[in-house]
């Protein structure tokens, strides 16, 4: 099908004049213009409560903007949803407690109208380091394990657009670095456009091609920092000077966005 070949290009995300307030006059997003290059991984960092999750939900089509619009590869979020092209891993893992890890992934496939694929499910579970826990129920997993299961569920449908809301907040540093090494390779081969929210500057640098720093609510983009480190990024990369320069730059931007004086960079 022609449409398919066209959409096989990693989709570009365009937010044009996007704004959102909540009842009670809480303005979360001012009109916001943003373009995410197809196939790239973008990290959003910003203070708690600034509107990161809200932006993700708008892009996923779970929330309607007050003004402006979102397009994903030229289509509306609703259209892309129906094609099973969007997946989101939510801030709280929200796995269904009555389904096993395997069952949770299988349901995602079913919801996305995709054929059952036990092999792909198990490979995905293994990729996030949960091999051996395929038949465990969420209650029997640790917080970090649940988060990884949620990421696996979001990825098993091979979405064109992957939205990850603080996916590894409760994951230990070592596993996190391993995932930061494994997951982007998969996104690259699949042509996934990824938008990820994180509170960890190091995680942003490890995973992303580009980091957007947001100000406190209402969220503006105060810095747009390209991450030029080559992929794949081995865990040892955190010892390189380029890594630390980037991390310092992001941190200064966060402080500046919050109206504080940027810290002196170490000599």
């Amino acid at each position: 099908m022609q449409a398919d070949t066209a959409s096989a290009m990693p989709p570009e995300i365009v937010c044009a004049g996007l704004s959102k307030s909540f009842p009670g006059g809480l303005r979360v997003l001012p009109p916001l213009d943003l373009t995410l290059t197809g196939g790239q991984t973008t990290a959003l960092v910003g203070p708690s409560g600034c509107g990161k999750s809200t932006l993700l939900r708008l892009i996923a089509g779970l929330e309607a903007p007050d003004t402006g619009r979102v397009t994903i590869g030229g289509e509306s979020p609703a259209t892309m949803q129906k094609r099973g092209a969007i997946s989101m891993a939510f801030q709280d893992p929200s796995l269904l407690p009555w389904r096993t890890v395997r069952g949770n992934l299988a349901l995602a496939l079913k919801l996305a109208h995709q054929p059952a694929d036990p092999g792909a499910v198990d490979r995905m579970i293994a990729l996030v380091g949960l091999a051996g826990f395929e038949d465990a129920r969420p209650a029997a997993l640790s917080g970090g394990m649940r988060q990884r299961a949620a990421v696996a569920r979001a990825m098993v449908t091979r979405p064109r657009l992957l939205l990850l809301d603080e996916p590894f907040g409760a994951v230990d540093e070592l596993t996190r670095r391993q995932l930061a090494f494994d997951l982007p390779r998969l996104w690259e081969t699949r042509g996934t456009t990824t938008l990820l929210v994180t509170h960890s500057v190091a995680e942003a640098v490890l995973l992303a091609d580009r980091v957007l720093v947001l100000s406190p609510r209402p969220a503006r983009v105060v810095a747009d920092i390209p991450v030029t480190l080559p992929h794949p990024r081995r865990p040892a990369i955190t010892q390189e000077a380029a890594f630390h320069d980037l991390a310092d730059g992001i941190f200064s931007a966060l402080m500046a966005g919050a109206g504080q004086v940027p810290a002196q960079t170490a000599p």
């Binding site: 609703a78 949803q81 094609r83 997946s87 939510f90 929200s94 269904l96 009555w98 919801l111 209650a139």
Partner: protein, 526 residues
């Protein structure tokens, strides 16, 4: 107590405590019976067993008959409940009228609906099955409605993020998330169906436990009454336990506490009243339409207009109102103190008992078991013990209210979220301070849910005991009217009792909203 203790503790241990509780109960019973021997009050367990052995055949036939009717009513009532919950969920606009009407019908006094159904349906098992269905559908409908809305928003977001709609939500998320609530409702329904079938048998059935109850009460056959009560209790407890067992086999999550949260107070001032009036109007319309459509004889199938005439326009309307009024007053005098005492005792004892955890472990299974003992068999017993006066009736109402309140409150007290309890543990806070700051606020919704459901239960209890034993009040008036075919009076008392129950229920719900808003705002429905 560690968190793990609170969560699990082991089914085996629970079984043992339940067994110990039962043993203690039997012992107490035997001791008491010996102490009271010669007063024709209490038959000892041994006496009951020998009676049962002698009357095996009679008892088995009656039991099978009642069980069959109860099962049919249980099935029908619950299917209707599931259908109604589905309708209310799919068309949210119908939810208020559906739940309002359901409550009104649930508040119809079985003692009077029984005889009316008997004349409408004629001989056979019809009224027994109908009453069993009427006794169960409401307690399934409400938890189910809560359960269908119990899924957290992020589960639904998952469905929507894949572009799927309400159907996928219902099938993949809500139906399954509601399952624990359905089971909890079914568990309460099982003993209730048995009770409903027995009340149905009071109205001139040929066979069944209800028929035997009436016969033995007339004859004051003490061992027989106790044997009936024991069998009915055992059957009810078994039904309750086996549905609990089934739920544990099917479900992976712990059972929920059924709260049926009151609706958010977003409504405008008068919308509650308007809703009530609309529901009332709808009920009258349905009543009239049903009677017309079935073309039933006006002599026993009264229409709304007939009842209005009898109450306000007929020459003897004044006398009728006076009779009704004095009967109601007589009932209220016993009902209110019993209701309040039952609530206070249930909540108070539950609060006390969590201060002594080993006691709670013992009391819980006992109370759960005793809650399912059918009122129709305990009524004669309590009256036997306390006499036909105020004490007996009031005690009976209190008992009827006590058990559900106690069980709900104990559930609620234990509900206190694990993490919050951990915070208190980490500050080494004492049991009392935890009780006051965490557990009682967590208990309030459960308490009020019990208080609401107890309104019709208390009315059922008081009318049954008035009918079976004391011969006064509205229950007796209804029984008398049925026996002398005074259908004007019978229908009028049904209407008045149902309306009063609904009003009391609404009053409790209003109080609940005010209290919860102040003391436990996070417990209100979002």
């Amino acid at each position: 107590m560690t968190r793990a203790d609170r969560l699990g503790g082991g089914r085996f241990r629970a079984g043992i405590t339940a067994g110990v509780g039962l043993l203690i109960l039997l012992l107490l019973w035997e001791v008491l019976a010996r102490a009271l021997s010669g007063q024709f009050l209490l038959a000892a367990p041994a006496e009951v067993l020998s009676w049962l052995n002698a009357q095996r055949g009679l008892m088995t036939r009656a039991l099978i008959q009642t069980l069959a009717n109860a099962a049919a009513g249980f099935l029908a009532g619950n299917l209707v409940a599931i259908a109604l919950a589905g309708i209310a969920f799919v068309w949210p606009r119908t939810e208020r009228p559906v739940t309002g009407l359901a409550l009104l019908i649930f508040c119809l006094p079985l003692v009077a609906t029984g005889p009316i159904l008997r004349v409408l349906l004629g001989p056979g098992n019809g009224p027994q099955i109908w009453l069993a269905a009427l006794a169960v559908y409401y307690t399934t409908l409400i938890p189910l409605l809560v359960g269908l809305r119990a899924a957290p928003a992020s589960w639904l977001d998952l469905v929507r993020s894949h572009g799927r709609g309400r159907w996928a939500e219902l099938i993949h998320i809500r139906a399954r998330a509601a399952l624990p609530y359905l089971f909890a409702g079914l568990q309460i329904a099982a003993p209730a169906a048995f009770l409903g079938a027995m009340v149905g048998e009071f109205t001139g059935a040929e066979r069944g436990m209800g028929v035997l109850t009436i016969r033995f009460i007339r004859a004051m056959d003490v061992p027989a009454i106790w044997a009936l009560a024991s069998v009915a209790a055992a059957v009810s407890i078994l039904a309750y336990a086996s549905i609990g067992w089934l739920a544990r086999a099917v479900l992976t999550e712990p059972p929920p506490v059924i709260l049926a949260p009151p609706r958010a107070a977003r409504a405008r001032r008068w919308s509650g009243l308007r809703q009530m009036l609309m529901t009332g109007g709808l009920a009258l319309l349905l009543w009239w339409a049903a009677m017309q459509a079935l073309d039933l004889n006006r002599f026993f199938a009264k229409r709304p207009g007939d009842v209005f005439d009898a109450l306000f326009l007929a020459p003897d309307a004044g006398a009728m109102r006076a009779t009704l009024g004095s009967a109601l007053l007589e009932t209220a005098v016993y009902l209110l103190p019993g209701y309040l005492a039952g609530l206070a005792l249930g909540a108070g004892l539950a609060a006390l008992i969590v201060l002594v955890p080993p006691l709670a472990a013992l009391a819980m299974p006992l109370a759960v078991a005793l809650r399912s003992v059918p009122i129709v068999t305990t009524a004669p017993l309590i009256v036997l013990a306390l006499g036909r006066g105020a004490a007996g009736t009031t005690a009976l109402v209190a008992v009827m209210v006590f058990f559900p309140t106690f069980v709900a409150c104990l559930h609620g007290l234990r509900q206190a979220p694990g993490q919050i309890m951990d915070v208190f543990d980490s500050h080494a806070a004492g049991r009392l301070s935890r009780l006051i700051h965490v557990r009682i606020p967590a208990m309030l919704p459960a308490f009020f849910a019990a208080a609401r459901v107890s309104v019709p239960a208390a009315i059922l209890a008081v009318t049954v005991v008035e009918w079976l034993a004391t011969g006064r009040g509205i229950g007796s008036l209804m029984a008398l009217s049925a026996s002398i075919s005074d259908y004007d009076m019978l229908w009028a008392s049904v209407v008045v009792v149902a309306v009063l129950s609904v009003l009391c229920h609404a009053g409790v719900a209003a109080l609940e909203r005010r209290v919860l808003r102040r003391y436990a705002p996070e417990q209100e429905e979002p």
